[in-house]
């Protein structure tokens, strides 16, 4: 069924189609309409799930952890300050190897107080052991939730996943979304059946104390799970395509990169704008391409290594900034490119923080700058784009 809906409703429909059994959430702008819609589904009986309203995001994740440990498929959604409040228990979810799926509506961190798009909240959770999928449109949000359960619940993965949709640009913007038939989704995604779960009458403590002689082996196993998630995702996406007739370009979604001299790397909704800009610049004879980071974790290391060997310049647009270093995506792309046979010139562009628009004109100017820089090398490795008071004009 094709329907017009916001990214938040796409999230809610994704969780419903995946037949989430326990949903625990705390409302926060701009995530609220996800859980409102899910509460509706549960109240009307359209979704057979237990809805747990809690008093904080930390408790929301704690409730999901408990339910998932008891063998239930769980879902939650949050944003920004809520996500960072969860930080401690995010680590617990991955360490306890619980394949919880959560939508994070990417929103700037305060202060300055802001409810608009920015990737700082998600990037700050990079090291929690969660898979992180950045989406560029509402269809991808819905589809990725369904795929994420299938990837994460695999016995060789067993890690949680965060589906990231940009605040307002996706969360509150309506687009046509295909809502697949429940029967098809059921055939694609079987019920959650973990090998281990808490059972009545059997004493079991999960995630219990280990001494230094055994800790590393458990972390090593989690590493193997994340490594497996890379190939598993690609396979699941192929299966998804054969059932539903569409895919979203893998972990590193490359567009017109084949013969490109300069490639722009970015994540989230800005990639959709960048696609248009690539087409427009190509029409004028410039060899540019786009490499969209779909998965920040597992990071598409090999894909970047291969891409780096083929191009002259890579511009990395970060919608967040890691103080004292650079944009986090830039640092990681650069690290992956270091082991490439040929190293391209690379430059980091910090743009769109706190919901500032990244217009086609700005992206065109980033491409134009990168073309020049790729020929003579970057003098400023990190440049802040469109900041009032700086000499360069971007608009």
């Amino acid at each position: 069924m094709r329907s017009v809906m916001t990214g938040n409703y796409a999230s809610a429909y994704g969780a419903k189609l995946a037949r989430a059994e326990v949903i625990a959430a705390y409302p926060i702008t701009p995530q609220t309409s996800i859980v409102e819609k899910l509460a509706d589904f549960v109240a009307t009986g359209e979704l057979d799930a237990k809805f747990i309203p809690v008093e904080s995001e930390h408790s929301a994740m704690a409730a999901c952890i408990a339910a998932e440990t008891a063998g239930a498929r769980t879902y939650t959604a949050t944003s920004s300050q809520g996500l960072t409040l969860m930080h401690e228990v995010l680590m617990w979810a991955s360490g306890a190897r619980l394949p919880i799926v959560m939508t994070n509506v990417a929103r700037a961190m305060a202060p300055p107080w802001s409810v608009w798009v920015d990737h700082m909240d998600s990037v700050a959770q990079r090291d929690t052991g969660w898979l992180q999928f950045f989406c560029q449109d509402n269809q991808e949000v819905l589809d990725t939730i369904i795929m994420a359960y299938k990837v994460c619940e695999n016995a060789a993965v067993m890690l949680p996943a965060m589906i990231i949709e940009d605040a307002f640009i996706l969360s509150h913007t309506s687009e046509p979304v295909d809502v697949p038939d429940q029967q098809l989704v059921d055939s694609f995604l079987p019920a959650y059946a973990p090998e281990l779960k808490i059972e009545p009458g059997k004493a079991m403590g999960f995630g219990s104390l280990v001494k230094p002689d055994q800790y590393m082996e458990f972390r090593y196993k989690a590493m193997l799970g994340m490594r497996e998630a890379h190939d598993r995702y690609l396979r699941v996406e192929q299966q998804f395509k054969s059932v539903f007739g569409r895919d979203h370009g893998g972990l590193l979604d490359r567009y017109r990169c084949g013969d490109a001299e300069v490639v722009l790397v970015c994540a989230g909704s800005v990639a959709a704008t960048a696609r248009e800009v690539v087409d427009a610049m190509r029409a004028k004879g410039t060899r540019v391409g786009l490499a969209r980071i779909k998965a920040f974790r597992p990071f598409p290391q090999e894909e970047f290594k291969e891409l780096a060997s083929k191009v002259e310049g890579i511009a990395v647009l970060d919608r967040s900034y890691t103080f004292g270093a650079a944009g986090a995506m830039f640092s990681e792309v650069k690290a992956a490119a270091y082991s490439a046979h040929r190293k391209p010139v690379m430059k980091n562009y910090i743009a769109g923080l706190g919901g500032r628009d990244i217009t086609p004109k700005i992206l065109e100017r980033i491409f134009a700058d990168m073309i020049v820089v790729s020929k003579r090398g970057a003098e400023d490795e990190v440049e802040w784009v469109d900041v009032a008071g700086l000499p360069r004009r971007w608009r």
């Binding site: 360490g95 306890a96 190897r97 067993m158 281990l196 004493a203 079991m204 403590g205 999960f206 995630g207 219990s208 104390l209 280990v210 002689d213 055994q214 082996e217 458990f218 090593y220 196993k221 193997l224 799970g225």
Partner: protein, 90 residues
């Protein structure tokens, strides 16, 4: 003995409850109950953070295997019937 990563589960799983660890040995101060002064209000039982108080006919009996001597029961008791005594002293 360290087990290979291939021999262990995904996350450490204990098959015994935490009560196998006798934590009362950590105690420095011991609560002593004067049953004659007790009003059977059960506040001590509600406040004990380690569930180390059992009620016998409404009167607290401290489970010294787990009581760590935090003194919350003594502090909360409205009838002042629980006194904290240093271990080793009478």
């Amino acid at each position: 003995m360290t087990k290979s990563y291939e021999e262990i589960p995904l996350t450490p799983i204990s098959d015994s409850p935490s009560t196998i660890t006798i934590t009362g040995l950590w105690r420095v101060m011991r609560p002593v109950v004067d049953a004659k002064k007790c009003k059977k209000c059960t506040i001590c039982w509600k406040f004990c953070p380690d569930a180390a108080i059992k009620l016998v006919d409404g009167v607290p009996v401290i489970d010294l295997q787990y009581c760590k001597g935090c003194g919350i029961c003594s502090f909360e008791c409205p009838a002042k019937c629980i006194t904290m005594v240093k271990e080793g002293d009478r």
